[in-house]
């Protein structure tokens, strides 16, 4: 398994299964997005923990025809042909803090209710607005 860490993204290739990916999650560092490049033989034999603190993406040559098992394991399924372009579009001009605050809402959405997400987005808004207003709190 090869791991390539970038500013906001960690890329993993040559992994064969979700269970292999879960053996040492700390090896990915602290990415905002984990992109797993998988082939036709990739096995969706487990699940990431719901509280995994980053978004997961499965990158496939034919993203339209990825199995439902794999789709269920990852937050996103994307084309492996243009992942740099994809992540550039997502994260352009954003701070790590901002990406993490937005991610937090989507991480909660894996298991949480609409009410949980509504509360999360409100609190994230005030934390980010405090930063926008000069880095202090709003107190």
């Amino acid at each position: 398994m090869k791991i390539n860490k970038k500013e906001f993204v960690t890329e993993v290739s040559d992994a064969k299964s979700v269970s292999e990916l879960c053996t040492d999650i700390s090896a990915y560092g602290e990415p905002c997005l984990l992109i797993v490049y998988g082939g036709a033989d990739f096995s969706a034999d487990g699940r990431f923990p719901a509280e995994l603190p980053f978004i997961t993406a499965f990158a496939a040559e034919d993203a339209e025809n990825v199995s439902s098992g794999i789709k269920d394991c990852f937050d996103l399924v994307i084309s492996s042909e243009n992942t740099d372009e994809y992540t550039e579009k997502l994260f352009k001009d954003k701070s790590r803090k901002q990406i993490e605050e937005i991610n937090r809402c989507f991480i909660i959405a894996r298991k949480g209710s609409q009410e949980d997400i509504l509360a999360c987005e409100s609190r994230a808004f005030y934390r980010l607005m405090a930063e926008k207003n000069g880095g202090g709190s709003n107190e």
Binding site: S95, Q98, A109, E121, F125
Partner: protein, 230 residues
């Protein structure tokens, strides 16, 4: 009722027409008037006989969204303590008048025309249904201003069009055309120009005829409507 928020009722259908300056730019005045008219809607909802509600822009655009500088000023004046997580009362009130739409016992249909952006889009996604007219553009560009949608824009977009589409919309802040909004499920019905309001009224009459509307059945009802009526 204000000049900028026109609430009318005809044949049991409420219609809110937003007519605020600068294509419904959501300034402090807009939010004040919006909250007042939604309080009126909440009161009317207690009585029987309302078949549904249509929300639309009075001009070419649904809404160009919030005035970000005004929003920054407002939030700077508010008190939020992250250690307790207790949100400002003004935000709770404002958010209520967006999110309560989903809990109403009659269908709320936003007719999306022109730009439907940011907090404007949050009115639409808090509705049960969205009818989008050709040439409209929608999106949540808050992330391009260093913040995120916080009036239901994240939660409802996930519910409406799934995790991946919602993540891409919210994180990128990209505006998408009507065709794409329909393709990803953000919009329920695609309509030609000027056909959105008649389409909304037709949908509401269909639902009233069934007599079984409940917020939790809204997706199933739309599925039936598409199969039987469109």
């Amino acid at each position: 009722m204000s000049d900028t928020m026109l609430l009318t009722e005809e044949n049991g259908i409420l219609r809110l027409t937003m007519n605020a300056p600068s294509n419904n730019l959501m300034t402090a005045d807009f939010f004040r008037d919006y909250e007042a008219v939604m309080a009126e809607v909440e009161e009317k909802a207690k009585s029987c006989g309302i078949k549904g509600m249509v929300i639309c822009g009075g001009g070419r655009h649904f809404s160009t969204g919030a005035d970000v500088e005004a929003l920054a000023q407002r939030s700077a004046d508010e008190s939020y303590d992250d250690t307790t997580g207790e949100l400002p009362a003004g935000h709770i009130r404002q958010k209520h008048f967006f999110t309560f739409l989903r809990g109403l016992a009659f269908p709320v249909v936003s007719v999306v025309t022109g730009f439907c952006i940011g907090s404007g889009s949050e009115i639409a996604v808090n509705s049960h249904y969205r009818i989008i007219e050709k040439n409209a553009r929608v999106g949540q560009p808050e992330s391009t201003f260093g913040i995120l949608p916080a009036l239901g824009g994240v939660a409802r977009t996930i519910d409406i069009c799934g995790m991946q589409n919602a993540y891409e919309l919210v994180m990128s802040g990209e505006l998408i055309p009507a065709e794409r909004a329909y393709e990803i499920g953000w919009a329920d019905i695609f309509a030609d120009k000027k056909q959105g309001v008649p389409a909304a009224e037709k949908l509401i009459e269909y639902i009233a005829g069934r007599g079984d509307f409940a917020p939790e059945k809204s997706k199933e009802i739309m599925q039936d409507y598409k199969e039987n009526e469109l």
